[in-house]
Amino acid sequence: MRIVLAEDSTLLREGLTRLLSEDGHDVVAAVGDGEGLVAACDEHRPDVVIADVRMPPTFTNEGLRAALAVRRRHPGIAVLVLSQYVDKRYAAQLVDGDVRGVGYLLKDRVVEVGDFLEALRRVADGGTAFDPEVVRRLLNRARDTESLARLSPREHEVLALMAQGHTNESIAGRLHVSRSAVEKHANAIFDKLGLTHVDGYNRRVLAIVRFLND
């Protein structure tokens, strides 16, 4: 993959560049602020962008705004946003509109190198990746809704993984069950939550996130 990286901490920028190169990716540009990110995307047209939310000069949500700008200018570029702490609004802003090729992860997830690279690949392939912590909070908030209370513990687990953006195969792998079992759970979840049957993996994630965020 061709990647543009935006991260203001030199330490992490270099670390991430190494990590990605070791995994066989091509970091075509590594920048330290939002403007640089937009310019680098205009120039290099990468497959995917990794952006830190908080960057100079304001140190608020520079990176997110730049990532959204990149998506508007080049809808084909996938974006993975990393942040120091969980803010649901960031995730909501990212899925507002097209849900293909977006990801929102806590920076800490980089430490789980395998999971991080998998999430990156998923996003670059047009999938989604939401931080487990974001999903946990969404589920927590929706805990009291009647429909969610009717889910079995196993269905809860499957729902959480679906909301994070995992595919049926990936969920099956993680829960050590067969793919058809996951499909059965998924159908039960859609029935219980009253979501009309949605086809296609991205629309499924979108439906779940919108339901939980409602």
Binding site: S9, L11, L12, E22, V110, V111, V113, G114
Partner: protein, 371 residues
Amino acid sequence: MVVVRAAARGMVGLVLGAVMAVVELPWALLAVPLRALPPTRLWSVRVTRMLAEADRVRVNRCLGGAIAVGPAGGRASAYVALRGLLGGLGGAVLMLVGVWVVLSWRALSGASGERAEMSWHDPLTWTAFVVLVVFLAAQALMGLAALERRLAVWGLAPSDKEVLRSRVDQLSRTRAEVLEAVDDERRRIERDLHDGVQQRLVALGMLLGRADRAADRDAAASLFRQAQEESRRALEELREVAWRIYPAALDDGGLPVALESLAESSGLPILLDYDVPVRLGPAQETVAYFVICEAVTNALKHSRARRVEVEVRRSDGRLLVRVSDDGVGGARADGRGLSGLARRVAAHDGRFELDSPAGGPTALRVELPCA
């Protein structure tokens, strides 16, 4: 000498007061209709206040008053009218004293050409008479000055209630400012943790993750070594952040120990002159420490100073802190760090003065009350 100077100042004050009465009396009469008419009301109130303020300054400067600026707007017009009368009276007394002194002189010296009724050659009579004249004249003038002061206290000084009200205003303001300063500090700590310590830990985790996935043992070993180094740096950073939040030495050894440690760890030579024989209260120590720390940090970051002098001493129940450097100046009291400290100092009823002209040098002076 002091007595003569005070007497001269008092005379100037009384003469000025008599002159001002010439303006004040007519103004007091004129202001009544002016105040009744809406278009001139504001203007007339302003002139009345100006006159009252001029009197306040005169009484404080010349007649030994110590009248604070009070709101006293309500009493200003009554004061100006009464002051006019008193000024007139003062003028009359001054004149009487003058006439009397002159007459006495003539009586003694026979300056009128006639033979003196009392003889020059009788020192006893002469001395007794002069002492009496001077004593009576001084009494009259001092009485007049005392009357001026009392009237000014009545008319201009803030009442107890007004003093209390302005104190409450000041306390509410400084309290709100301190709360703001606390929030600012928390923001700074959050930034320190997220942008410093967290980044290092993520970098450390990343190194371990890469080591775990490394193809050969040599590469893994090198990554583990880097990870170890990174964990050492993370700990260092954490210690620095904790120290910035609150230097534990303040509780342990007090301000001098904390300052020594600051001087030792600073990248700039710091000349420390600490001369306070007793242990200060924890509140004063904390404020003083953070003031010095911020000033030193600023000097290090922005001033291109070659050295910093820190002076801490106590006099008259006040703690004096002075931090000066030989840098390029241009520090601003409304900058983030300094404004927070200024607010903290104000909450302790202290004074905060920053002198930092462009081109330097910079001197920060803080005074804190300490029992």
